[in-house]
């Protein structure tokens, strides 16, 4: 059932965690950080497919930018090598800068798109860059049966 939350406050007060959906990594391009854009069936009734795919594609682009091997990363690498990598203790690397951008992006997406739909995205960095964890909340007011049934259905699968 599609539950609607008008804002985060409502989510906090009346929601209970029903399920967690995990978006796994996509290794077809090697070891770079990239997530599958396949739309999980559990979110079918919760969010539009295009919104979800946009979020994942943007995240993938951010990660690609962080891991891009090009002029700037070479410069950083050579400079680091000359200083015996002590420079990593002093400055923030490009990867870290992009990770901060990603974290801001995820927060913004949560506030604008996901929380109103009773969903919450966890930054993949907190899950070891293995998965994008999407927590699905059910309206507590709609009684435990719906959340109970969703958890039984998910565990029985």
């Amino acid at each position: 059932m599609a539950t609607e939350f008008h804002n985060l406050q409502e989510l906090r007060h009346s929601a209970s965690l029903a399920n967690k959906v995990f978006i796994q990594r996509d290794y077809t391009d090697g070891t770079i950080c990239k997530f599958q854009t396949k739309f999980p069936s559990e979110l079918d009734s919760r969010i539009e497919r295009t919104l979800f795919e946009d979020t994942v594609k943007t995240l993938n682009n951010y990660y690609a930018e962080a891991e891009k091997i090009g002029g700037q990363s070479y410069l950083e690498g050579c400079l680091a090598c000359l200083t015996v990598y002590l420079i990593f203790l002093c400055i923030e690397t490009r990867y870290e800068k992009v990770l901060k951008k990603i974290s801001r992006y995820i927060q913004e997406q949560n506030e604008k798109i996901y929380a109103p739909r009773g969903l919450l995205i966890t930054d993949p960095l907190e899950r070891g860059m293995r998965v994008i964890e999407i927590s699905v909340y059910e309206d507590r007011g709609s009684s435990g049966s719906s959340s109970g049934s969703s958890t039984t259905s998910s565990s029985g699968r």
């Binding site: 995990f22 962080a66 690397t93 990867y95 966890t122 930054d123 899950r127």
Partner: protein
């Protein structure tokens, strides 16, 4: 399931309190506020040790790191004290300058290799592990006494089939090039080998430090060797003879011995690793022959190589520095208090699970996820008393599942005709450890068994969810 109902009973009480972030109330049963918040490194499940409040990470056994450091310091110290004055007088003062630069490079890169997180993958949260279990077909259903065979998943990378193995300790499918080090009990990304000389694994994050260390050490050793030889040669000129020279500078004799025995193996090692860097391979892959067609596949090549030596070198050594995924200095959210407190705002974290905290979405999740969140992790706390019949089996059977690749690697390493390996094996001291440490499991079955003991407790949620 049971827990769900408990929380629903408490719910009306929670709804009665309108404020979203009430201060935690002391409860009679649990010590709600711990004396101090613990950092994640204190509850880290792997076998690493931490210093400086989590800033420094080393493997459990420091191996021979003190010996490595001692040898370097001793030899360099003797060089600067006994050989440099003579050489400065007779040759040039560039010698101590060059020696000094090399020495600094060696020591700093050694410390960085030893004390940096090599690319440890944090273990799966209970929900993640349960989700993976759901996706894996278990033909025996809920039979609890049968342990399923090792699980693999295949992906296609650059038109090549790569098998991803399931790690029973960390409960994840290992990403490509990731391997589980049984000495450290962690999955390490782009695992190269566990090096006892530096007392740490060598993986994605510290490979460049390790390479710098090995290359600069080979330069330093060769430099000292050359300088000491020159020194002795100059002293023994004028009809005095070598014996007189050695008597005049006995320290040089010691340096000569140390350098002579180490320069070959270290030069060989740096040559070997230069080859690996140019081919974008890891020691682990090279020894196992994953991409060289030894396992009988015709159509194999390294799918990660850019097919250009320069690009490979640049990507391995000058690529972006990935972050540490284990967040050693983050705080563990308070855990047991949440079971009884419905308005506890901090996210619960089970004992063995260090990654349930959500720093990034702290403002959202802390208040959004109440105690019902713990229902998913509660089954983990419960099966402490779970079927004891599971205990003995998991200890024995996983090790063949997890370790065979490594033990075969051990056997392969003795038979592989790789010229650098045989070069190493002929030199006693430092050679054998480096290359053979990729097969890090065979001498240490007990450690893997003890890790399995923990593992069986963590795996019980799988069975309970299947029931």
């Amino acid at each position: 399931m049971m827990k769900n109902r408990e929380y629903q009973q408490i719910d009306p009480q929670a709804l009665a309190t309108p404020t979203p972030t009430p201060p935690p109330r002391p409860l009679p049963e649990h010590d709600l506020k711990p004396k101090r918040a613990r950092r994640k490194w204190e509850v880290f499940p792997g076998k690493n040790r931490f210093y400086c409040d989590g800033r420094i990470i080393v493997a459990r056994q420091s191996g021979v790191l003190p010996l490595t450091l001692g040898l370097i310091l001793l030899t360099s110290g003797l060089f600067f004290v006994f050989d440099c004055p003579f050489l400065v007088k007779h040759l040039t003062s560039c010698i101590p300058a060059i020696g000094g630069v090399l020495f600094v490079f060696v020591v700093i890169s050694l410390f960085q290799t030893s004390f940096t997180d090599p690319g440890i993958l944090p273990r799966a949260t209970p929900e993640e592990a349960a989700d993976i279990e759901k996706q894996i077909d278990n033909p025996t259903g809920s039979s609890s006494s049968y342990r399923p065979p090792p699980r693999t998943k295949e992906v296609i990378i650059n038109q090549q089939v790569v098998k991803l193995k399931y790690c029973f300790t960390c409960k994840i499918f290992r990403p490509p090039r990731t391997s589980h080090c049984s000495l450290c009990d962690n999955c390490v990304e782009r695992f190269d080998h566990h090096c006892p000389w530096v007392g740490n694994c060598v993986g994605k994050r510290n490979y460049r430090f390790f390479y710098t260390f090995v290359v600069s050490l080979s330069f330093l050793t060769a430099f000292i060797f050359g300088c000491v030889t020159t020194h002795l040669a100059l002293r023994s000129q004028g009809g005095n003879g070598l014996v007189f020279a050695l008597q005049a500078s006995p320290a040089s004799a010691l340096e000569l011995v140390v350098c002579f025995f180490s320069v070959w193996s270290i030069l060989g090692l740096s040559g070997f690793h230069t080859y690996l860097v140019a081919a974008n391979l890891t020691t682990n892959e090279d020894i196992k022959g994953s991409w060289s067609g030894k396992s009988g596949n015709e159509d194999v090549g390294n799918p990660y190589s850019y097919n250009s030596m320069i690009k490979n070198c640049c990507s391995v050594l000058c690529g972006p520095m990935p972050p540490s995924l284990i967040d050693r200095r983050g705080f563990v959210p308070s855990d047991d208090s949440v079971q009884t407190s419905p308005v506890e705002v901090k996210l619960p974290a089970a004992k063995n699970d260090i990654n349930m905290c959500t720093h990034g979405t702290k403002g959202l999740l802390e208040t959004a996820s109440r105690s019902p969140l713990l229902t998913s992790s509660c089954p983990q706390a419960k099966p402490q008393a779970a079927p004891a019949v599971l205990e003995p089996l998991p200890e024995v059977t996983p090790s063949p599942a997890l370790e065979p690749a490594k033990t075969t690697a051990g056997r392969q390493s003795t038979s592989t005709p790789h010229k650098h390996h045989s070069h190493h094996r002929s030199k006693g001291k430092q050679a054998s450890h480096h290359t053979h440490k990729t097969s890090n499991s065979s001498p240490r079955p007990h450690h893997s068994h003890s890790s399995r003991r923990k593992d069986s407790k963590n795996r019980d949620p799988k069975f309970s969810s299947l029931r």
